[in-house]
Assembly symmetry: none
Homo-oligomer: 227 residues x 2
Amino acid sequence: MGRGKIEIKRIESNTNRQVTFCKRRNGLLKKAYELSILCDAEITLIVFSSRGRVYEYANNNIKSTIEKYRKATSSAPTTWSTQEVNAQFYQQESKKLRQQIQMLQNTTRHLKGEGLDCLNVKELKQLETRLEKGISKIRSKKYDAILAETEAAEKRDIELENEHAFLRSKLHIAECEREQQLNANTAYNTFQAYLARNNPLQLNMMEPIDDTPPAYVPDQKYSLRLG
Amino acid sequence: MGRGKIEIKRIESNTNRQVTFCKRRNGLLKKAYELSILCDAEITLIVFSSRGRVYEYANNNIKSTIEKYRKATSSAPTTWSTQEVNAQFYQQESKKLRQQIQMLQNTTRHLKGEGLDCLNVKELKQLETRLEKGISKIRSKKYDAILAETEAAEKRDIELENEHAFLRSKLHIAECEREQQLNANTAYNTFQAYLARNNPLQLNMMEPIDDTPPAYVPDQKYSLRLG
DNA sequence: GGGCCTATCTATAAATG
DNA sequence: TCATTTATAGATAGGCC
């Protein structure tokens, strides 16, 4: 139906295919709707376009229709849905894991000395032996660990002591330098006082005096003496 | 398309509805097929007749298409199938259980004195204390068990001894009776010999002699003595 | 503007009452 | 079966990101 008859095979032209998809999809959905109404049928129609877009028609709940279809076709119950298989698998897995946990808990309880009533003398002796082995291993490991920690602490002590000594020597040097500077300053001040008392022309008295001592104090002294 | 236009509403005539269903269903399936071919679309079509018969078209695996649809529409993940919920639940359960097993195995290993490298001195000490407590409990239980077993053995000994004594006394009585009988027999034989030597009439000598002694030997003796 | 989708028009094929 | 209704091919335009 259309301007010409067409062969039922994939339409090569992208545009034509796209347009035809749109038209025929609408037609299909409409016909599905009409059939469901006219004949009281339950219909689910799912269409994926080639680019992955999804269109659907369902006159009823789509999931319930799918479930109904599953039941209707599962007379051969060999095919399980992924979810069903998963559920079963993990259910069994859980069961096994729970059993394993039971056993492990029993073992742990016994090793902690609990729930021993079900054991006889022989089993108690075996348990005791095992615990003795364990405790000896633990003590050995503890000894190693203590040794290691002690060594680490000693090493840290030594390092600290070294650093301490280094800092002390540095401080000593700094103090010495400070003292030298103080001595120098004292000499300079003495010289200034001397100038104030003995310079009749008041030379240099108006110059600002900053904290840093003049670089060549001795030269000044000498030059003054020579002058 | 047909001899007359029809209104889209449920066809009341059963026969007409049936015929229309058959025709339109085939038409729908055909159109679905054509669309899937012409436009390279993935289509699943499920139709239930009002009498419960199922018809379907799917150019691809119907289950995989349905799964694809689920995923495509599960941007609103409010509706999960029972199987999906189950699978998820048990999957999480398995995960948790596996973690629990991991922890238990670690604990057990530590209690056995294995895999201790990850522990520090404090943890090792705690472990040691715990093991010591365990071992003392086990020893106490072992002591109790040994005691119980010893007591049971002693009790059994006593019972055996009692039984032994009882048997011995019974045997003693039996031996006494036997001896008395032997003595009685000796007296009888002596008497017979006496008869043989002193009885001129050979009275009673031809009587058979059986092993069982006569019931009243003493009386015979006395009677003979008196005679 | 460009790619993708849909609507409109019309002649004709297809569906179906 | 077949008259008649419907669907739609082809071409093109409109709308939306």
